[in-house]
């Protein structure tokens, strides 16, 4: 079966897309009907070969556990993966992910979720001392690469990805998102151009608490991939989105860069701008480019990524893909098209189009937007 994994003989998967995101800075929860409505306005930005959602704050009862969402092609794959999980993790709870038959999603893999934490006496401790997060990352990569017919599509805490092959509004019905509540939502509508739909290839792509939805094609994928491989990331999916997620994981989680600086790596300012900065700042930005030149995402993209502390939306350094943002009270909306925002928030306080490479960052702690990328005239 060609469902969970990319078995097409392409170096990588290319797609155009639509995306949107909704966040409440005070962590007020809403159900999935708004995000569904919003992404459904962007129906024509996809072709029915991939849709998906990420939601944060949906598993408050298991907030301290890693929530693994795994798709299986067969029950034997499930048995193999569960053996691995049992050996390495304490499984607090496991269940089939509730899905609902709709006429539109007629063919799907077996979808299961586990609330787990790594065992303190797990076998790998004999060889190295990995933190829990690192061990989870390794486990996700191991399963996705080595276990045929199994694919982990969500592995964070108190968050989850729900995705599949189909238009996003149908995927929303399939998982019945109106019954799920969260304080941050992202959504994606996919238009793959070189592979037919496969479930694992739908967005969001997630790793730990990272979730990425992405519209674009990273023209620098070749070197981004080789750069990540140097740090032992395994790019099994061969998608741009996977590369972006790993770069963020490397920069923010491993290299401990502040989010804002990590973002300037992805869409770095041009030297002509850096040269005009003063002293320390110029030195810092020059060093960022010297060290992380291979992590620059070059080519058209608009991304929305969620993480434990908030949400970021940004464009590539010359804005080759659409991205609009709006805010209304504690809510911030981002989308490929303004219409998608107006569909769920008719009269926002402000609507703006973020400038190239300048991120919109919304973090929960601050309870406000502390950087409005390229916001003009305020």
């Amino acid at each position: 079966m060609l469902r969970t994994k990319n078995k097409f003989s392409t170096e990588r998967d290319i797609s155009g897309c639509g995306l949107c995101g909704i966040i409440n800075a005070k962590k007020v929860k809403t159900n999935g009907s708004d995000i569904k409505k919003s992404i459904s306005v962007e129906h024509d930005r996809g072709n029915g070969l991939g849709g998906g959602f990420a939601v944060y704050g949906n598993y408050p009862d298991y907030a301290e556990l890693y929530a693994f969402h795994i798709m299986y092609d067969s029950l034997s794959a499930k048995a193999d993966v569960e053996e691995y999980l049992k050996n390495n993790f304490i499984i607090e709870k496991e269940e089939t992910i509730p899905t609902f038959n709709t006429s539109k999603i007629y063919d799907h893999p077996y979808l299961h979720r586990y609330f787990i934490k790594p065992k303190s006496n797990r076998p790998d401790k004999l060889f190295h001392e990995l933190g829990d997060d690192d061990f989870v990352v390794n486990s996700v990569m191991l399963i996705n690469q080595n276990y045929d017919g199994a694919y982990v599509f969500s592995s964070g805490k108190n968050m989850g990805a729900f995705k599949g092959v189909g238009y996003p509004e149908d995927i929303a019905d399939f998982y019945r998102l109106e019954e799920i509540e969260g304080y941050m939502w992202t959504a994606h509508n996919r238009f793959p151009t070189n592979t037919p739909g496969w479930w694992g290839g739908a967005h969001p792509f997630t790793l730990l608490d990272w979730s990425i939805v992405h519209n674009g094609e990273i023209s620098s994928y070749g070197i981004n991939k080789r750069y990540l491989e140097m740090y032992k990331y395994n790019l099994a999916l061969r998608t741009d989105t996977e590369a972006i997620t790993y770069i963020l994981d490397l920069l923010i989680r491993k290299h401990k860069l502040p989010v804002r600086l990590a973002l300037t790596v992805l869409a770095s300012p041009f030297y002509q701008k850096i040269d005009k900065m003063d002293g320390d700042k110029k030195e810092l930005y020059t060093a960022l480019r010297q060290i992380y030149g291979s992590a620059l995402l070059n080519g058209p993209f608009a991304i929305v990524f969620g993480y434990a502390n908030g949400m970021v939306a940004m464009n590539d350094r010359i804005k080759l893909r659409p991205l609009v943002a709006a805010s209304m009270g504690d809510f911030t909306y981002v989308a490929s098209e303004e219409a998608a925002i107006r569909a769920v928030c008719q009269n926002p306080d402000i609507v703006w189009s973020p400038k190239a490479g300048e991120p919109v960052i919304v973090e929960f702690e601050e309870k406000n937007i502390h950087q409005k990328g390229g916001l003009i005239g305020l």
Binding site: N194, E217, S220, I223, Y271, E283, R289, L296, N298
Partner: protein, 506 residues
């Protein structure tokens, strides 16, 4: 043994003069560094045996009266006993010596650059127009830490915790390859220095010391330390932006160099710090480097002498085990590794070495880059690729295979008029490049050729920008090492594997 009065070796070229056009201005006599022409009372006479087809005479003949043709007198064709082999046997049987020549090998080996094709954007990702959008070629050479450590200052702004190691800033990913004063003329070096300064790139002194006239160009110069240690002193090490330790050269891996005493005039003697008229012999190995740990000592001796303020480069020839060698060099502390492929040029080298030793730069580069990445040390050093970069296309492909920058040697000399006649070793270069004869050197105007070098590198840089734009990226960083943008044609599986690229269509 009595010397026979005749040679079997016939003239390779004929210098033919159309006596109807010739106005007896005698410019050809003046221009030819080889003494081919003389005045026979009423007309110019050619001694064909001296002609090397360097092109100087017909370029400067005001009447277009000269044509240089290949000597039509044949040596009987034989695919096995080729003309060159037969002539070498005659030559060596007449002299008992090693056959020496200048420039790179003339053998027709497979040129891998010519079997690699570049990618471009169509529909799914947009190409970028370099005439309308910024297109960055700036390149930094030197050790990069694998991660950035930052502090937060009093204003809550991030600042660098530790200073970056020293870097060479290049405005475009080209450098001029190492060519010493001695092997080439001072005017040729000056032309490169002027161009390097105008372009924001660097030239390289080679193992010939730094002439006083070039000291003001320090910010655009890499000074070299090679096995003869000519011209090396503390101020010399500190006078450029970086120091290069030369271990080997693509045209002559494993052997040293020899600048004959007759070329060591007052000026060169001063610059090289050796007596006038003595042979300048660079030994095959450095006499203080017999292993990798010795190299480490020299690298750190140079760093100590320069206060850790200049990157140290190590230049090696591409040989069979190059990946492991470069890995060792990087771990020994080099900040830059300069890899010279087997088609690289030289002022003089035995043909036996030049034509048969080493490996192609394309493959060496791909293997080195892959190896350093596997070991997680690729960012520890920058890589300069060299060994006949003939066009911007070669440069782009080298960068996509993993080079940080490429070095231009022969191409720079071609700018100055070089016709690649391969007779650099004789010191008679009619173009004033590889000669120390004052009347020949004088004709090479550094400003004229400095500008032409500037033009060439600018043109190539524009071409690289066009290609980057077509690929949909606006920084050279995004092409560097991106083999995914390369495809091979007419290559075997083994060759594709060695290059780390896929066949076209895959």
């Amino acid at each position: 043994m009595t010397k026979s009065s005749f040679s079997n070796i016939q003239s390779e070229y004929l210098a033919l003069i159309d006596q109807n056009k010739c106005v007896r201005c005698k410019r050809c006599i003046q221009n030819c560094g080889w003494g081919t022409y003389s005045f026979g009372g009423d007309k110019i006479i050619s001694d064909h045996s001296k002609c090397v087809a360097c092109g100087r005479c017909y370029t400067y003949c005001p009447e277009g009266a000269i044509s240089i043709v290949k000597n039509p007198t044949i040596i009987r064709e034989n695919a096995n006993w080729k003309e060159g082999l037969i002539k070498n046997i005659w030559r060596q049987s007449e002299t008992g010596g090693i056959v020496i020549s200048g420039m790179g090998t003339t053998f027709k080996y497979k040129k891998y650059f010519d079997h690699i094709l570049l990618d471009a954007c169509q529909v799914t990702n947009p190409s970028i127009d370099p005439l309308r959008e910024p297109m960055e070629l700036r390149t930094y050479l030197g050790k990069k830490p694998s991660r950035l450590d930052i502090d937060i200052d009093v204003n809550g702004e991030p600042v660098l915790k530790s200073k970056m190691p020293p870097q060479i800033e290049l405005q475009t990913p080209f450098v001029f390859g190492a060519m010493s004063y001695g092997s080439i003329s001072l005017n040729a070096q000056k032309a490169m220095a002027l161009a390097a300064r105008a372009l924001g790139i660097v030239m390289n002194t080679g193992e010939g010391g730094l002439h006083d006239d070039l000291v003001p160009f320090g910010k655009n110069i890499i000074v070299q330390v090679a096995s003869g240690r000519f011209g090396v002193h503390r101020d010399y090490l500190n006078s450029g932006v970086a120091v290069e330790i030369k271990i080997g050269q693509g045209a002559k891996p494993g052997i040293g160099g020899h600048l004959p005493g007759e070329k060591i005039g007052v000026d060169i003697s001063r610059t090289r710090m050796i007596p006038v008229g003595t042979d300048a012999i660079s030994p095959a190995p450095h006499h203080d480097i017999y292993s990798i740990e010795d190299l480490r000592q020299l690298i750190y001796a140079v760093k100590e002498a320069t206060g850790y303020e200049k990157p140290v480069s190590v230049k090696v020839a591409a040989v069979h085990n190059i990946a492991a060698i470069v890995s060792g060099i990087v771990r020994a502390g080099a900040d830059i590794v300069y890899i010279d492929g087997y088609t690289g040029g030289t002022g003089a080298a035995p043909n036996i070495i030049k034509d048969h030793v080493g490996i192609p730069i394309e493959i060496a580069l791909a293997q080195v880059d892959e190896r350093l990445r596997e070991e997680g040390i690729r960012s520890e050093a920058s890589i300069i690729a060299a060994g006949s970069i003939r066009s911007s296309a070669d440069a782009i492909k080298a960068i996509a295979l993993g080079a940080d920058a490429v070095a231009i040697g022969t191409a720079a000399l071609i700018v100055m008029g070089c016709h690649v006649c391969g007779k650099c070793n004789t010191g008679n270069c009619s173009w004033g490049i590889t000669t120390q004869r004052p009347e020949l050197v004088r004709r090479l105007d550094p400003e004229v050729y400095g500008e032409r070098l500037y033009n060439l590198i600018s043109a190539w840089s524009h071409e690289i920008q066009e290609v980057l734009g077509a690929m949909g990226v606006n920084s050279i960083d995004s092409l560097r090492g991106s083999r995914e943008r390369l495809r091979g044609v007419e290559l075997t599986d083994a060759e594709l594997k060695a290059l780390g690229i896929k066949h076209a269509g895959l």
